[in-house]
C-alpha cells in the first residue's frame, strides 16, 4: 500500500458519482423512442440476474452450500419477496448447510 488511501477514495467516489449524476442531469425530458424505453424497462432485471449468477455459486467458498443458499433465496423471494427475509434466509440456509458439510 504505497499510495494514499484518501486519494484512492476521492478518485473512486468522484468517478462513481459522475456515472450516477450525468444521466439524471442530461436526460431531463421523456424519451419517446419505443426501443430505448423498452431497453430501459428490461435492463435492471438483466443486470441484476447477470450479477447474481454464476457469482453466487462461489459466494461462501463452497459450491454446495452456496447453491443451497441460492435455491433458498429463489424460493423465499418467490413466496414473499421481502428483501431482508430473502437475504437472511439465504445466509441461514448457506450457514447451516456449510456447518453440516464441515461435520461430514
Amino acid at each position: 500500500m504505497k499510495n494514499n488511501i484518501y486519494i484512492y477514495i476521492l478518485v473512486m467516489a468522484g468517478v462513481t458519482y459522475l456515472i450516477r449524476l450525468l444521466p439524471l442531469t442530461i436526460f431531463r425530458k421523456e424519451i419517446k423512442n419505443r426501443f430505448v424505453r423498452s431497453f430501459l424497462h428490461y435492463m435492471p432485471y438483466v443486470t441484476l440476474s447477470v450479477m447474481t449468477f454464476p457469482a453466487i455459486l462461489s459466494a461462501t467458498g463452497n459450491v454446495t452450500s452456496s447453491t443451497i443458499g441460492f435455491v433458498a433465496a429463489l424460493i423465499i423471494a418467490w413466496i414473499d419477496g421481502n428483501l431482508f427475509k430473502v437475504a437472511i434466509g439465504a445466509c441461514g440456509a448457506a450457514l447451516i448447510s456449510q456447518l453440516i458439510i464441515n461435520l461430514i
Binding site: I7, L40, V46, T60, V86
Partner: protein, 239 residues
C-alpha cells in the same frame, strides 16, 4: 405529501438497510484485511455506496496500483449505474430541480434503484431521501463494524453472510418475474448466458464489470426488439 412520501421511503428502506448491514459487514472485513482502518472503510462506504465497486477497489488498493487504474476499474465495475440512471431519469418529473437530481444521484444503488423504478407514477425525491436515510447508515455502519470486529466471527459465518448481497438482487428480480412472463424468461436467459460467459474460453477472461455491461446491452436490446413494451405500459414505467 412530501412528508408522507418520506415516511414511505423510510418504510421501504428498512429491509434494504438491514440487508446492507450484512453485506457491508463482509466488505468491512475485506477492507480490514487490505489494511484500511475502520474509519477509512466507513468513509469509503459513505462516499461510494457500491458493493462491487468497493470490493474491486480493495483489490486495486491491495495491489498498490495507480490512481488511473482505480478510476478505470470503477468506471467499468460501476458502468451499470449509468444505465440505471438513464432508466431512473425517466421516472423523474422534467421540472424537478437540479439539487434534487444531485442528491438522488448520490445514492443510486442496485436496491434503491430497483425500489424507486417500481413505484407508481413519477418519483417523488422525498421517497428516495427516506430510503437513503435508513439504507445509507446500514451500509456505512455495517462496513465500520465489519472492519472493527469482523475478525471475531468464524470464517464459516462470514462466508455464509456473503450470500446476502445476491439474496438482495434475487429479492428484486423474482417478484417481478413472477408477475410478468417476459421478465421471467429474461431472468432465466440472463443467468444462463452469464453462466456460459463464465465457462467459454477467452470470453471467461473478460473482466466481470465488462461482462455485466456486454450481457446487459445484448440481452436488454434483444428483449426490447422481441417484446417492445406497449405504449400504456411504457408510459406507466416512464411516468
Amino acid at each position: 405529501m412530501n412528508l408522507q412520501e418520506f415516511k414511505s421511503g423510510i418504510h421501504h428502506g428498512i429491509p434494504v438497510g438491514l440487508g446492507y448491514f450484512f453485506v457491508s459487514f463482509t466488505l468491512g472485513i475485506a477492507a480490514k484485511q487490505t489494511g484500511l482502518s475502520s474509519i477509512q472503510a466507513a468513509l469509503m462506504s459513505l462516499s461510494i455506496h457500491a458493493s462491487a465497486g468497493e470490493f474491486a477497489a480493495l483489490g486495486i488498493i491491495a495491489a498498490g496500483a495507480g490512481y488511473w487504474d482505480m478510476a478505470l476499474t470503477e468506471i467499468i465495475v460501476n458502468l451499470r449505474y449509468l444505465l440505471m440512471s438513464c432508466s431512473l431519469s425517466q421516472k423523474l418529473s422534467s421540472s424537478m430541480r437540479f439539487f434534487h437530481r444531485f442528491l438522488i444521484a448520490f445514492d443510486i444503488t442496485d436496491e434503491i434503484f430497483a425500489v424507486s423504478v417500481s413505484r407508481q407514477g413519477k418519483l417523488n425525491p422525498f421517497f428516495t431521501y427516506g430510503m437513503m436515510v435508513v439504507a445509507s447508515p446500514g451500509w456505512v455502519f455495517g462496513t465500520f463494524v465489519g472492519a472493527a470486529a469482523g475478525g471475531i466471527l468464524p470464517a464459516v459465518v462470514t462466508g455464509a453472510m456473503s450470500i446476502a448481497l445476491y439474496g438482495m438482487f434475487i429479492s428484486v428480480v423474482i417478484p417481478s418475474a413472477r408477475k410478468d412472463k417476459v421478465i421471467a424468461g429474461i431472468v432465466v436467459v440472463s443467468m444462463l448466458l452469464s453462466g456460459a460467459f463464465a465457462l467459454i474460453p477467452v470470453i471467461k477472461d473478460i473482466s466481470s464489470g465488462f461482462k455485466i455491461i456486454i450481457l446487459t446491452v445484448i440481452i436488454s436490446a434483444a428483449a426490447a426488439i422481441l417484446f417492445p413494451v406497449k405504449e400504456e405500459e411504457s408510459e406507466e414505467a416512464a411516468k
